[in-house]
Symmetry: C2
Subunit: 671 residues, 2 copies
C-alpha cells in the first residue's frame, strides 16, 4: 500500500494547521467594522472564545498598541467558564489604538497537568518525565543565559535516575513554570484575523456639563445685539454654576434674504436679527464673525476669558447657507439648481426654512465641497476651539462626517464632536460609528419610569455603549418638552437631576434656570424663541434654580461615579412615580444612589431596594446614606428602605453611600 | 475669499461619497466569517439595515448566485419598520451560493413623494414638475426603445402648459413608475462590503431517520461474525420501520495488539472480536474491509441492497489506528514517538484506549497526513457512500475538517457529514461552522421540561440555527442514558417521540426497539456492550417497539412540518410533566402538535394552550386534532384544551391539526 501524496493539491497554507481558534472578540462594533470608543486612562476589558481540538491547555495574550507605535504590548489572558478568555489593558495616550489576540497550545502546561494527575494516581511516569525533559530542552534552545543553563540543568534532573517524586516536584515547580513561560513556543500560534480599532478621546468626550447661550442676548439693551465682550461678562455666571462647556449657536454673519421675523414669521422687520442658522452674508460665511457680535479679536477674548474660568467654548457647525452666503456666488456647483434656475430652500415637512439653502453633496465637485467644509472646522480649531456641536448631521452623508472627523483629528486629536441628530435610531448610531464623540438622544421625550429605564438601559447596557455616548440635554432652543411646559418648577428640578446624574454628559439651554416654560401652543417651540429675536433676562430673579444647579454640578464634580455611565443600574422601588438608580466606580469607592419623584404635583413615598451583594454590604449591616442635595444623613439597614419625596421641596435626593457607621467597637474603651 | 482646494489631500475614494449605508445583514454567521447553511429548495430570507442621510426614499436589491455562476440574480427588497429591509430568494442548486446587497437613493420615488404631498396641499409645483421631467429625460438616456420614446414623451408632457393636475397624475402614474424602475440610476449605489456565503446541501443534511447497527451481529450464530451478506438480509427489517439511513460502525480490519475483551476488559480471548474502532491490521487500514465481514464485493452488495430498499448507508470515520495499522510502520512520522521510542495510546481520562494510537496532527508531515485522510473519505465516496458519521472530530484540528470537507465536496457535493462531538459547546459549534452538516447534541442528557425547552430553543431559535443542525440520537453504543435505564418501556416510547418530532434528524442504535436497558452499574455504558462483542437478538419479540417506531417514522414522512426544525415552538401546558410543542410549515398547510408525558411512571393530565392567532384559528372556532399515533380524533375549541396521557398506553400523542370542521352550513339544505 502506498500512502504517498500522489496528487496532493496546491500547497495548503501552513497557518491553517495551527490548532487554536479565536472567535467572538468583545468589545467589537459590527464585528470590527468600526472602532470602539474609549477615553484616555480607561480600561479595555477584552473577552474572546479561545479553544482548540483535544484536551491540551492553551495560553493566550491580548496584544495592543497605539497605532502610531510600531511595537505591540502584550498581556496574558485568563480562561473563564465555557472557553471564554479575558484580559485587559489601559489606553494611556490620546491616539487611536488597536488590539488583537494571539493564542497557542501550551504543551508544557499540558504536560504538567498530565504528570500531576498520573503521579497522584501512583502511576509510573518514567516516559512522561523524559517527554518533559525534551520540552524543557527545546525551551533552553530559545532561551538566553543564564536561563538557558538553568533549563538545561533541570532537564538533566528530569532525565536522571533520582526518585520519581523528586523529579515530579521539580517539573511542577513554580520557578520552572515561570522560566518556561518566558520562552513559550509560539511557532504554531494562531492570530485573530483582524486588529480591532479603538477611537481614544479625551475625558470631555465622555463627561461634561454643557450650557447653551446666545451671545447676542447678553447686551445691556434688549433692542441691541450683545457682543462677545458682553458675553464674556456673563461667563462668570455660567462658570459659577459649575458648567464645563459653554456652547454657542452659530456666530457667523446672518443673511438678509428671506430673514425670519420673531416667532418664525416669514417677514422680518428692519431691526430683526434673524436666525443664527441662516449663515452667511456679504461680510462672509462660516469662517467669519457676525459684525454685531464683534471682531475676531473679541471672539478670541471671549474664548480666553472662558478658559481662565475653567470653561471650554463649543461652537455650532451648521453646514447650510443663507441665500447671501458667499458660497452661493463663488461655488454655484455646490447647490442644487432647479431647471428654472432657482435654488430650492431647505424643508423638513411641515417645517420650511426659506432663509436657508442646503448644500448639495451629490454634486460632481463634492470633493472640493468636502475639503472646504473640513477647512471650516480646522479654521476654528486653529483658533483654539476644540468642541463642535454639529447641527443636523443626519442631512449630510455619513461618510462625509467620517472623513471630516478623521481629517480634523489628524491635526487636532483632542477635538470633540457632538451630534445633534434627532432622527431614526440607526442613523444616530451610524453617526456615532463614523466618529462623533457623543450625541443628542431621545431622553428629551422619555418621561415615565418605564420609558426612562428602557431607553437608558439600551444606551448603557447593550453593545451601543461601545460606540454611542449620550449627552442628555434637558431643553434646547428647538425643544421645550411638554413635561416642562406644565410641570412647573418641580419638573425643571427633576429633569435637571435626571439629566445630570443619568448622563455623564448633560446640558441645558439658558433660561432653563429661570423655569421658562411658555411654548407656542400645541408645539414644543418656545414662544418668542431666541432663535429669531434677542432675549433679555434677569438672571437674579429669586426663583432662579441657579443655586440648585450649582449644587448638582458640584455633586457631579466631586463624585467620580457620575463621570461615566458604565456603573449605572436601575433598582426596584415599589412606586411607579419613583425612579431609583445607582452609579458607582468599579472599585466601589464612590457609590451614588439617586431617587427621583417623577410626578411634579404630588408627594410620593415608597420602599427602595438596594443590591446589597453588589455593594458588598452585609444583610444586617447598618450603613449611612448622605443626601448631597438636602444634606440629610440617614442610617439604613438591609435591602429595603423608606424614602419620601415632596416635589415642592426637592423632587430628588442624591445619596452618597458611606459604608462605615461607627459602633461601640470604635469607642476607645471598648473591650 | 478663495475656496479653491489649495491643499486637497490625496484624492478621496469616490465610493465613499455614495450616500446609502448597508449594515447588519442577517442571516450571517460571525459577521460573514463562515457560511450559513441551507438545503436545496429552501428559502433564504435576508434582512439588513439600509438608510441614508436626509429624507430621500431608497431602493435596494438582494443579489445572489451560485458561486459557480458568473451572473448575479437580483430581487427587490422591501422596507419594514425602523430602517430594516427584507428580501428573499431560493437556493435551487446543490452548489455553494453567495449573497449581498446593493442600494441607492431613488430620486424618482422621492420626487413622486414630494410632488404628491405638495400637490395635495394645493401648492404651485411648476418648478417641481420641471425637476421630474429632467429625471425622466435622464432615464430616457439609459433606456432602450420603445421605452426611450415613451419616457421622452412623458417628460414633454410634464414640461407642457397643461393643467398641473393632469401633469401630476401622469408623473405619479403606475406605468411611469414601472418604466422608471426599469432604468434606475445606480451610478451612485452602495454595495455591501462583502458577499456572504451559503453552504447548500441536499435535504438529507437536514432531515432523516437514522438506524445504527453492527453488521457483525447479524449472523446466524452468536459465536461467529455476521457478514455483509447477513447484514443485507437485515435491511428489509430496518427499511420496514421507515428509517432513511443505516449507519455502520467502522468496517475495517481490527487490530490484535491490546485488543479489548468483553466489557472493555484489557485482555481479549482468542475469539473475542475486538472494538471496530481499533482500526487496522495486516489486512489493511481505513480503505480495507474486515475479512470477517466479507469482501469489497459483499460491501457493494450491501450498499446496493440498501439502496433498493430506499435506505442510504452511512459509514463511520474514525481517524485513529490500532498498533497493527499499516500507517504505524509506513508513516511513523504521523505518530508521536516518546523519547523512549514508544507511541502513547489514546486517553480521555479516566478512559484509556490501549488498543488505539492517535494520529499526531502536529507532525511536520501534516500535509501528507491531511491528504491521506481526505483520500480515505474520497475512497468510500467513490464506492457510493455519501454519508459519514465522524467519530470524535473534536480531537482533530478544526481546520483539518474544514479543509477535508471542502475537498471532498468539491468532487462529491452531496456528501453529508455528521459530527459525533460530545464536547464543549463552542467546539461543537466550530465544527459546524467549518462544514459539518449536522451534529450530535446534548439532547441525550436533557430530560426535564425546562431542560428540553431551554436547550432546543437555543438550537432552533438563536443564531445557532444558521449553521448547526442537530441530530437527536436517543441512544448510541456509547450512551445508554439514565432515563432509559430506569424508565422502562414508556421511557423508550417518550424519548423516541421526542427525538423523532423535536429533531428533523434523529436516530436510534439497534436494541433500542427491544428496550435494552442493562447498563454497567453506575455508568451509561451498555452491559456486554456490542462495541466489544457480537450480540445476538430476537427481533421478533412481542414487546418490540417495531410497530410503534414504524408508525412514528410514517408520521414523519407524511408530515412536512416534521422535515425541518424551523417551525418549532413550545406552548404552555399547566403540568410540569407534560411537554407541548408544535411544528408547522410556513404556509400552515401542515400543522403538527405534540404532547408528551415525561413521567414514565404516572398518568398526567392538564390544559394545553394553543397559539390561536398564529394558527389563524378564531377564538370560538371549532377545529379537529387527529392523534396520528392513537388514531383518536378530538374536537377542540378555543385556546385551552384538555389532554390526558397514560404512559402505560402511549406517553405521547402527535396531533395533526385539521382546521375544517363540518357544520350545518355544509349540509345541502342549509339556507
Amino acid at each position: 500500500m502506498d500512502h504517498a501524496n500522489k496528487d496532493l493539491p496546491e500547497r495548503i497554507d501552513p497557518e491553517i494547521a495551527h490548532r487554536v481558534w479565536i472567535e467572538n472578540i468583545q468589545p467589537a462594533v459590527d464585528a470590527g467594522r468600526f472602532p470602539i470608543k474609549r477615553c484616555v486612562g480607561e480600561d479595555v476589558r477584552v473577552t474572546a472564545d479561545i479553544f482548540a481540538d483535544g484536551h491540551d491547555l492553551l495560553a493566550a495574550v491580548l496584544r495592543y498598541r497605539p497605532v502610531s507605535a510600531a511595537a505591540w504590548q502584550e498581556t496574558h489572558m485568563k480562561p473563564q467558564v465555557n472557553d471564554i478568555w479575558e484580559g485587559h489593558f489601559c489606553v494611556e495616550r490620546l491616539d487611536p489604538y488597536e488590539y488583537t489576540i494571539e493564542a497557542w497550545v501550551d504543551h508544557f502546561a499540558s504536560w504538567q497537568d498530565e504528570v500531576l494527575k498520573k503521579h497522584q494516581a501512583g502511576q509510573d511516569i518514567q516516559s512522561e518525565l523524559l517527554e518533559g525533559a525534551a520540552l524543557i530542552e527545546a525551551a533552553a534552545e530559545r532561551a538566553l543565559e543564564p536561563d538557558r543553563s538553568w533549563l538545561t540543568k533541570i532537564a538533566l534532573l528530569l532525565k536522571s535516575k533520582k526518585a520519581q517524586a523528586e523529579r515530579v516536584e521539580r517539573g511542577l515547580s513554580a520557578d520552572l513554570t515561570a522560566l518556561m513561560n518566558r520562552y513559550p513556543d509560539r511557532s504554531q500560534s494562531s492570530r485573530y484575523h483582524q486588529a480591532l480599532q479603538i477611537n481614544v478621546e479625551r475625558i470631555r468626550a465622555r463627561y461634561g456639563a454643557w450650557y447653551e447661550m446666545f451671545p447676542r442676548s447678553t447686551g445691556s439693551s434688549p433692542s441691541q445685539s450683545g457682543t462677545f465682550r458682553d458675553a464674556a461678562k456673563q461667563l462668570s455666571y455660567v462658570a459659577g454654576m459649575g458648567f464645563d462647556v459653554v456652547y454657542l449657536p452659530p456666530i457667523h454673519p446672518i443673511g438678509h434674504t428671506y430673514r425670519k421675523g420673531p416667532n418664525n414669521t416669514l417677514v422680518a422687520g428692519p431691526d430683526d436679527p434673524g436666525s443664527p442658522w441662516a449663515i452667511g452674508g456679504p461680510e462672509g460665511g462660516h469662517k467669519a464673525i457676525h459684525p454685531e457680535l464683534g471682531t475676531m479679536d473679541d471672539f478670541d477674548f471671549f474664548v480666553e476669558t472662558a478658559s481662565h474660568l475653567g470653561l471650554e467654548v463649543a461652537l455650532d457647525i451648521a453646514f447650510q447657507c443663507s441665500p447671501d452666503h458667499p458660497y452661493v456666488k463663488e461655488h454655484p456647483e455646490w447647490f442644487r439648481h432647479r431647471p428654472d434656475g432657482s435654488i430650492k430652500y431647505a424643508e423638513n415637512p411641515p417645517k420650511k426654512y426659506q432663509d436657508i439653502y442646503p448644500l448639495n453633496f451629490e454634486n460632481p465637485a463634492w470633493e472640493s465641497l468636502w475639503s472646504e467644509l473640513k477647512d471650516v472646522i480646522v479654521f476654528w480649531a486653529s483658533r483654539g476651539v476644540r468642541i463642535f456641536r454639529v447641527d443636523n448631521p443626519h442631512t449630510k452623508p455619513l461618510n462625509f462626517w467620517g472623513w471630516t472627523i478623521d481629517e480634523v483629528r489628524r491635526s487636532f486629536p483632542d477635538t470633540v464632536f457632538l451630534s445633534e441628530a434627532f432622527t431614526r435610531p440607526k442613523i444616530m448610531h451610524a453617526l456615532a460609528k463614523v466618529g462623533f464623540s457623543q450625541s443628542y438622544t431621545y431622553f428629551t421625550w422619555r418621561n415615565t419610569k418605564r420609558e426612562i429605564i428602557e431607553y437608558v438601559t439600551t444606551l448603557t447596557r447593550s453593545g451601543v455603549r461601545e460606540f454611542f455616548r449620550p449627552n442628555f440635554f434637558a431643553n434646547t432652543p428647538d425643544i421645550l418638552p411638554e413635561f416642562l411646559q406644565f410641570g412647573g418648577r418641580p419638573a425643571f428640578l427633576s429633569r435637571l437631576v435626571l439629566a445630570a446624574t443619568l448622563g455623564a454628559s448633560y446640558g441645558i439651554y439658558s433660561g432653563y434656570e429661570l423655569c421658562e416654560n411658555e411654548a407656542t401652543p400645541g408645539t414644543e417651540e418656545y414662544h418668542q424663541s431666541e432663535k429669531y429675536q434677542i432675549r433679555h433676562r434677569d438672571w437674579n430673579r429669586p426663583e432662579s434654580l441657579r443655586e440648585y444647579i450649582t449644587l448638582v454640578n458640584r455633586v457631579r464634580r466631586e463624585n467620580p461615579a457620575l463621570h461615566s455611565n458604565d456603573g449605572l443600574d436601575f433598582y426596584p422601588v415599589d412606586n411607579e412615580q419613583l425612579l431609583f438608580f445607582g452609579k458607582m466606580t468599579s472599585s466601589l469607592d464612590n457609590i451614588i444612589l439617586v431617587v427621583i419623584n417623577l410626578d411634579p404635583h404630588h408627594v410620593h413615598d415608597g420602599w427602595v431596594e438596594l443590591p446589597l451583594e453588589k455593594l458588598r454590604i452585609g444583610a444586617s449591616e447598618v450603613y449611612q446614606v448622605h443626601d448631597l442635595i438636602g444634606e440629610g444623613r440617614y442610617l439604613w439597614q438591609g435591602r429595603r428602605n423608606y424614602v419620601r419625596l415632596d416635589p415642592a421641596e426637592s423632587p430628588a435626593q442624591i445619596y452618597r453611600l458611606r459604608r462605615r457607621v461607627r459602633t461601640e467597637r470604635d469607642f476607645e474603651y471598648f473591650m
